[in-house]
Every structure is written in structure tokens, then in C-alpha cells.
Amino acid sequence: MPATRRSLLAGLSGLAAMPRFLFGAAHAQDHLLDAEWLATAGVEGGFAPVVLSAGFDATAVGHGAQRLHWVEPSPDGRTAVAVARRPGTTAVLFDRRAGKVLASFEPGAGRVFSGHGRFVEAGRRFYAVEIERASGQGIVSLREVADGFSVVAEWASAGIGPHDMLPGLGGLVVANGGIEPHTPEAFGAEVAHAGVAILDPGSGQTRAVGTLEGDLVSLSLRHLARAEDGLVVVAAQDLLNDSIARPLVYAVDPDGRLQAFDAPDEEWRGFRTYVGSIAVDRSGRYVAAASPRGNRVAIWTREGRFLGGVPLVDGCGLAATHEGGRFLATSGLGEVILIAADEEGVGVVARRSGGPRFDNHAVLVGA
């Protein structure tokens, strides 16, 4: 169902477009925000998009009842969209400099948002990932930003339980997670039925689907990241907790084939079956993955060579910085760290506590 003005207004009524409120003495309200990174977070009494300054000051934008997940900066240099995660049904358009909520929109009837979406065509259009409540089938909706995010086209995601998606590999890459681990539905399930689908961006036709075989079919492929030169990586969560070390990070080939990253078994086990986010640095040379269950962020070279990791309790959000070999990481306990990586290893070079409860993702603005 296309988003209509009515549904937009309905969405807005559920979100109090309050003036932004500050965490710490970050910015005066009459100044534009220094938006270096964007994230979402739990804030007092609800959830909100969050603007992070270069100095890690966090400013919440608005205030809503639904838990927001990914936030996608628009190439317009001004706005961004934060998307609710299951069972949420709200996506929030906000002005990341003025710190104001501008509008919100909803998925089709009987559906929820997966928590992810992406701008394309220089910000004119927006892809949202939606899930049928009843069947779990995935839909990618292409929306016209200037027309209130009305739906231009809808395609099957070529799988169940889609979560993340991004333009890449000459098409649209969708991580169909299949059965989501750590839910009651997943109990007893040993095959996730996950796959990475590559869709034609014009027609929505499925060009390729990459799946895992053998002992790896228990992996739910859920999060994606890309480098500017085309590298696409996907991160997994394991349905099984059987003490078997399974690789949880893969490179995605243009034909959909998945190539496992390398790491010692102890490192894979240390993620405790769960990678919650993945990011590529600005240089495209390094890949980071975070596990809030394992309290750990690990880093590889783009070729999949393991470099090392750092502890971060309940850490999940990951983003590039404007400098190569650096990652921002955020935690559910309000911590922000800056991680540096080179061919010799990995370390924490800056740290800031006292922020809001960051949700699972962060993103560099203008990356």
C-alpha cells in the first residue's frame, strides 16, 4: 500500500516532534548541529534518532515510542531517515543539522519495517525493507522522497526475514536473514534459510542468491556493509549454540557466492554466536564487526585476514570515520570509542562515556 498523506499524518501523530533535547552541554538550540555520525538510541521514555558530533556529543532528535534501528543519511547533505525495527512500523525523516523531525512514514498494511533502508538516486528515492507479519516474506519498497515517501515499486526480497540491504554489486543486495536467532520462533530450528539476494535495481528481478551450505546453514545473514570500490560484506548470527566455531563474516561476490573471513576458532566463539553490525572503514582497507553478546569489536583486512579485537561491553554500533583505519563504535551503555587499526593490530584511541543507550547501528555522515 503506498504511503499516503493520511498515513504520513497518522505516523506523525504517533511521534512527538518535540524540540531536540541535549545530552550534556552539546549545542545551543539555535545553532546547527555538528553532525559527524548518526545513530539511534533509547532515550528517556522512548527512542530517537541521535546526532553525534566529532567530539562524540550526542543530541537526540525528537522522541517516539517505537524502537529505531538503522539511520540512513541522505545525500542531500541535510536530512536522514531512521527506521524502526520489528515489530515497529515507523520511519522518521529528520533534519540532521537543525535537529528537527520533519515527517514519518509507514510500511504497507500488515507489514513491519525490518529496521533498515537506503537512499538511492542522489537521495531522490528511498528503499525500505518490509516484512509481512503473517508469512515473514520480505518486500523491498522503492519510495519517492519528494512525494511523501509514496511507493513507486515493490519487489519480493527473494527470501524470508530480510533485514539489511544496500545498493551494490551492480544491483540491490538484500540480506534475507531467514529465521531470526534468539527469538522463540528460532528454538529448535537448525536451518536459518538465509541468503544474500542480488536484485536488478530496475526491475527487481533476482539476479543471484548466495547461500551457505553444510554446517553453515544455521547462520542467519543479517547485516551488510560496502566499500566505495565495490567490496560488499555480510555478517551472520548463528541459530545454533553448540560450541562449534563458525565464521560469522563473509565477503559477497558479484555472483552471490559467499567467501568466509578468517579468524581463530576462539575469536569466532568469542562472538557468542552473534554479530550485530558490520562496517568498512573510509579507505576500504579494513572491515569491523561488533558483538554485543561477546562484548567485542574485531577487525579484519578486506581480504579477510583477522587483525585483532577490542572489548566493548554491549557494543554494537559501528561506523567509519573520515580517516582510514579508524572506526567509531557505540554501546548500549552509552559509551563511544574510537578504534584504530593497521596491519599490526587494533587499539582504542579515544573514549567517551555518558551518552544515551545506543541502538545497534551508527553511520558516518557523508561517507
Binding site: 528454538f187 560450541s243 555518558g354
Partner: protein, 375 residues
């Protein structure tokens, strides 16, 4: 150390008493009445995170270490002189260690977060019969090399902890196979290796915490950060409250909903935690009782209204745990049993909600959440 308003009022009253010599009795009585009113209305100060660790957590780790030591000693004694009475002792000791672990299983901060200690202590939920396969494979191994303590802790987590020990003690025919037969000696050696390993893990966790003068607790008391455990010592209260909320979620999601399934036909009685030892209810009772006691300690700092709301929710959780059917798996297969489990789950969810509000809200601490619920 911060002093609670309660303590300050008492100190104030004490000083008034000294000054009151020689003043009219009515004035003293009035002051006494005033003090009573103050005390009656005062809320205790929120305990600091190090105080919670010292007063609530460490005694539970001490109990775990003591239980694990008694369990290992029982295995040593049994292996030297197997007997039916010895089996009963082993089973009793297993229950004590199992409950002691359930009381702290939901704590994810501190030394427990290293070296896969939670998984090695209690790999749960078991998948693909990982524990059964690991134990069977160890029984079939004719050498003792992997049972040496320095090797055993590096084996699959499935072989190392309480669920593997439960198999050796409670699987069909397991007790008899420990007493006599071609595998008896081997099974005993494996049991002793597991018991030793459990004691080692428990001891490592407890020793890592140390005391007020040494170890992590001393660091916390001094307010110094630790790059691994507490990069921000002030965030510890958030971790404590987050883990407390997670305790109820673990019970509901893993111990009840996973067994219930969506319909009676979907019920999974074999997924009930500790079903082999018949402790599926006791494990929940132990975890809920432990969580409730932590909640009450933290809740002492709330205003009377918040404290009453919290106490009501936690009392209900205690009562719901006590009223659970003895066999969770069996209950999941009958209409009456399912109703009882669903009602208990709803009560535990309400207790979890009370941890967010009024507890976390009243204490002014944030609940972390990334590790709890996926995506």
C-alpha cells in the same frame, strides 16, 4: 562513601540527643517525633555499584565456589569408592551447584565475561545434541590426556560444564553405569574432570573480583577504570540493572516460551532446562529468587510509591515461581499446564517491566539493550 538520608537522620538524631541534656522533656519528645517522621519518610540512598557487588554478587559467587568445591570433593570420594549412597550424594551436590549457578547466570559483567566462562559452565540451550555427543565421544576415548585440567578447559564447551555432568548423573542408566560395568571408571574420571573444571571456572570468577583491597572490586571502590571490564566504572549500575532485567527475560524466553511453543502441538518438553535432573522448576525458582533479591536491594532507594510497585511485581514473581508445575516439559503438553506456564510468564514479564520502571527510571540509570534482543 555516600551516606544514606536514613543514616544522616540517625546521626542527626544522635547529635540532638547529646545536645538535649537539660532541655525540657517535651522538646525532646517533639524532636523524637520529628525524627520518627523523618525516618518514616526517608528513602535509603541508592546503593553504589561496588556495594551491590560486595553485598549481593560476591556472596553468591562464594556460594557457587563452595558448592563447586563440595561437588568436586564428592566426585573424588565417589571415584575412590563407588556406592549407591555416593550416587545420591553426587546428585544432591549437582543440584546445589546448579542452583548456585542459576542465581548468578544472568550476571554478564566482570570476570565471567572472559574465556567463554558462561558457555563453559552451562552451555544452554543445547543444540544438535552437542552435549550428548561430546560426552559420548569422551567416554569412547581410551586415553586420559584430554581429561587433564590444563586440557579439559580447552575442549568444546559442550563437554565442560553442568549439562554434561547432568548427563553423567541422570541420563537413563547413567547412575548404574557409574557404579559398575566397563565404562564405570571412565565415566567417573570424566565426572571428576567436569567437577574440577566447574570449580576452576567458579574460582577464577570469584578470585578475579577480589575484595576491597585487591582485584576488580578494589578498582571499583577506588573508582578506577579497567579497559576490559569497566572502561567506565560509572556505567556499572546500568550493567547491573540491565542484567537484572535480563534474568526475567532468560526465564521467560528460554525456560518457558521455548518449551511451550505456540500451540500444544508445538510444545517441546525435551527443551526444558535441567529436565534430566528433574530441576526444571527449581532452576527457575533459583534464578527468580536471586533476581528478586537484587531488585529489592536496589529498590530500597526508590520513593515509597515506586518501592511499593516494585515490591508488588517482585513478590508476584516469587509467588509465580513457587507455584510453577514441578515438570515444565510435562506441563507444556496439557491445557491446564500451559495456562499455568503462560500466567507465570506474564508475571515474570511484568517483573521485567518493573525493572525498567520504576526501578531503572527511579535510580536514574539507563538500561542497556543491544545484547538482549537481537537484530
Amino acid at each position: 562513601m555516600r551516606r544514606s538520608p536514613f543514616a544522616l537522620v540517625l546521626a542527626f538524631a544522635s547529635q540532638m540527643g547529646h545536645v538535649a541534656h537539660g532541655v525540657p522533656a517535651a522538646a525532646v519528645a517533639a524532636a523524637s517525633l520529628l525524627t520518627t517522621i523523618f525516618v518514616g519518610r526517608a528513602n535509603a540512598a541508592a546503593p553504589s555499584a561496588p556495594e551491590v557487588v560486595e553485598a549481593w554478587l560476591l556472596p553468591r559467587y562464594d556460594a557457587l565456589v563452595a558448592g563447586a568445591r563440595a561437588n568436586r570433593e564428592a566426585w573424588q570420594g565417589f571415584c575412590a569408592a563407588p556406592s549407591e549412597a555416593g550416587i545420591a550424594v553426587l546428585q544432591q551436590r549437582f543440584g546445589a551447584v546448579s542452583d548456585a549457578w542459576a542465581a548468578v547466570e544472568f550476571i554478564t559483567f566482570g570476570p565471567v565475561m572472559l574465556s567463554l566462562r558462561p558457555d563453559r559452565m552451562n552451555l544452554f540451550p543445547e543444540r544438535r545434541n552437542a552435549i550428548g555427543r561430546s560426552v559420548a565421544e569422551l567416554i569412547g576415548d581410551p586415553t586420559d590426556e584430554r581429561l587433564k585440567p590444563e586440557r579439559f578447559g580447552r575442549l568444546s564447551a559442550a563437554a565442560q560444564g553442568l549439562p554434561a555432568l547432568e548427563r553423567l548423573l541422570f541420563d537413563d542408566g547413567a547412575a548404574a553405569a557409574l557404579l559398575a560395568g566397563p565404562e564405570a571408571g571412565r565415566r567417573c574420571a570424566i565426572g571428576l574432570a567436569i567437577a574440577t573444571n566447574i570449580e576452576t571456572i567458579a574460582t577464577e570468577i570469584r578470585q578475579g573480583w577480589g575484595d576491597r583491597k585487591d582485584g576488580l572490586l578494589a578498582q571499583l571502590v577506588a573508582g578506577t577504570s579497567d579497559p576490559v571490564f569497566f572502561p567506565d566504572p560509572t556505567a556499572l549500575m546500568s550493567q547491573i540493572v540491565t542484567d537484572l532485567a535480563g534474568a526475567y527475560q532468560r526465564v521467560v524466553d528460554q525456560r518457558l516460551l521455548a518449551v511451550l511453543g505456540k500451540t500444544p502441538d508445538d510444545a517441546k518438553p525435551l527443551a526444558a532446562d535441567r529436565r534430566r535432573s528433574g530441576r526444571s522448576k527449581e532452576t527457575i525458582v533459583a534464578m527468580i529468587a536471586s533476581a528478586d533479591s537484587l531488585g529489592r536491594q536496589l529498590g530500597a532507594a526508590l520513593d515509597p510509591k515506586g518501592r511499593a510497585a516494585l515490591d508488588k511485581a517482585l513478590d508476584a514473581a516469587d509467588a509465580a515461581a513457587a507455584g510453577l508445575p514441578d515438570d515444565i516439559g510435562e506441563a507444556a503438553q496439557s491445557a491446564a499446564g500451559r495456562k499455568a506456564l503462560q500466567e507465570a510468564a506474564a508475571t515474570f514479564k511484568a517483573a521485567q517491566a518493573s525493572i525498567a520502571n520504576p526501578l531503572a527510571a527511579g535510580l536514574g540509570v539507563a538500561l542497556g539493550f543491544n545484547a538482549l534482543d537481537g537484530d
